[in-house]
Symmetry: C2
Subunit: 165 residues, 2 copies
């Protein structure tokens, strides 16, 4: 199973895909979609939408995961993040790919064991878990991979829950 994780953002949108079938998770793709802050918002969203859909069609994930946006200090940032999260969910729904949201705490706890881990710790664990030669950078890319791992590990649990309904 390939899981595509997305850490949504207008300026930097982290994308990380991992394959969960093997004994150990394997990196499939990692990138960051950037959009020019000097462009009008609708052009930025169109650029992110286009790139995101290109990546999804390339990676062909079985499931997708998006980081759940919470109220941050900066209202403008939250709005942009929510708009990008909306595009991600739309892209998944258009292809019938199951998509779930996970909180940052949930993701940090899944990969480091602590919901209060910092970005450095998350990156270190993602690098180790995927056996990477280099630390994924920027942090948004590492976050997207952490999200994909978190989602992938929860899959058997979700399957059990669904079967017991």
């Amino acid at each position: 199973m390939i899981v595509l994780g997305v850490d949504p953002g207008l300026t930097r949108c982290g994308i990380g895909a991992v394959a969960m079938d093997a004994q150990r998770p394997r990196l499939v793709a990692v990138t960051v979609i950037r959009s020019d802050a000097s462009l009008p918002i609708e052009q930025r969203l169109l650029h992110i939408h286009t790139e995101l859909n290109r990546i999804i069609d390339e990676v062909r994930p079985d499931e997708m995961a998006v980081e759940r946006v919470f109220s941050q200090h900066n209202v403008k940032t939250v709005m942009g993040t929510a708009q990008v999260a909306g595009l991600v969910m739309l892209a998944a729904a258009m292809r019938g790919i199951p998509v779930a949201m996970h909180t940052p705490t949930e993701v940090k706890a899944a990969v480091t064991g602590s919901g209060r881990a910092d970005k450095e710790q998350v990156t270190t664990m993602v690098t180790r878990l995927l056996g990477l030669d280099e630390r994924p950078s920027p942090a948004d890319a590492a976050d997207a991979l952490a999200l994909a791992l978190c989602h992938g590990w929860q899959a058997p649990m979700r399957a059990k829950l669904a079967a017991s309904r």
Copy 2:
């Protein structure tokens, strides 16, 4: 010039289109896209995206306007509203239709003369300005028409500003 106004929302998304060429603005279309709150968020976004794009292709607006979302008391509502606003801007950008955002205060002031007008007053003025036999309902539909009128009236000013650059 036909202006399509959208009052974004997950549960009710108001859509109102007006033609601004004639001596008096004329109603082109008014509707509300609803999405079932019991559906997963991605299915709701897909439904809104599909309906919205169908309406845009029918109405063929020259310009679009979206109500600018502000921090509201309910964080969950804001997120949904921002996600739908993102879809509206994406739909406009995909077709090369200029899209602008207007604040609720700006819209109220444009149609009633007061930025603090209530929903009743906005509906009354929209009904009168467009010479409608019935008051548009629900309030989201009236808001979308008010937004379209606000945007349409500002068009000559925007054209002047653009020319003077």
